[in-house]
Symmetry: C2
Subunit: 147 residues, 2 copies
DNA sequence: ATTTTGCCTATTGATTCGATAGGATAAATT
DNA sequence: AATTTATCCTATCGAATCAATAGGCAAAAT
């Protein structure tokens, strides 16, 4: 399971992406429409701002807006930001790699091989899920439903 | 990341599977060859026994042995046993399903769609990884390396 | 000047994780 | 029968992580 923090982050970013051209959007607005605890969301957005993913405007009529090309923000990177590695074992992660004490030889460890396969497939899907794609998908799912 | 408990469980079961025909195997042996804290492994094995996955023999020359067809024990079920759902969101799990407060309509929620894809792919790989297959894979990896 | 909104620090309670202690019980060996 | 060698069971521990909130400071618009 991903943490609630990450789940909130994803929904908040998708929200900002959807309303990219409406000027700064307030914490309160996002919190209410996405059902996220306001104070918690606040902490998340400040963090995203410090990392450069979003920018903010202070004072009246202030709020947040996305600071990058939507194609450059994907679910794999967002998950890694707060929850760490996507791989299920330390020995199959890229950025957080650590050898396992359990196996003597990584090359011949079948356990590792399986979790590596899972990781590679997961990362592939999550990398493809950038904000631009997600919005497209959402539109296409809505169209499908109407019919 | 899966918990250490689950990781230990997998390695212990693979160990038992490999030595299926050597009679009961002691905790101490498994703990030492697989580098698992003995007392921790003890708790795990008792649990596996109560769940019917392994059987035990008390007293001198006692130990544990696998109680099922190796094909019936796969990584998906083992992970679920201690770590719960494999899906990354409550709304994409099967046994632990819960609706998300964030999205109004599951059918058109793109976030859900992506995590559903990840889950389905992961479960597919992890289901295929039953103990019989894992042992086969390990042998084939060893053969490959020698060449 | 006042209101509105983001920014920052600190804290809290709950839960989970990983591991160990200490002894009871059962079976085989002597 | 006594001893040894295992598993079985209960209980507990500290550390870490999670989710959320409190309370006030700083900046910008009206």
């Amino acid at each position: 399971m991903i943490s609630k923090k990450t789940k909130y982050t994803i929904h908040a970013l998708v929200h900002l992406a959807k309303h990219k051209d409406s000027g700064p959007i307030q914490i309160k607005t996002i919190a209410e429409t996405e059902n996220i605890p306001k104070k918690f969301l606040e902490a998340i957005l400040i963090d995203l701002r410090n990392k450069g993913y979003v920018a903010s405007q202070k004072g009246r009529n202030g709020g947040y807006y996305i600071n990058r090309d939507l194609k450059e923000m994907n679910f794999a990177d967002i998950i890694r930001m707060f929850d760490g590695p996507i791989g299920m074992l330390p020995c199959v992660t890229y950025l957080y790699y650590e050898p396992c004490e359990e196996c003597e030889d990584e090359e011949t460890c079948a356990v590792r091989k399986i979790f590596k396969d899972v990781r590679d497939e997961s990362v592939k899907i999550l990398k493809a899920a950038n904000l631009a794609e997600v919005i497209k998908t959402e539109k296409s799912l809505s169209r499908k439903k109407k019919k």
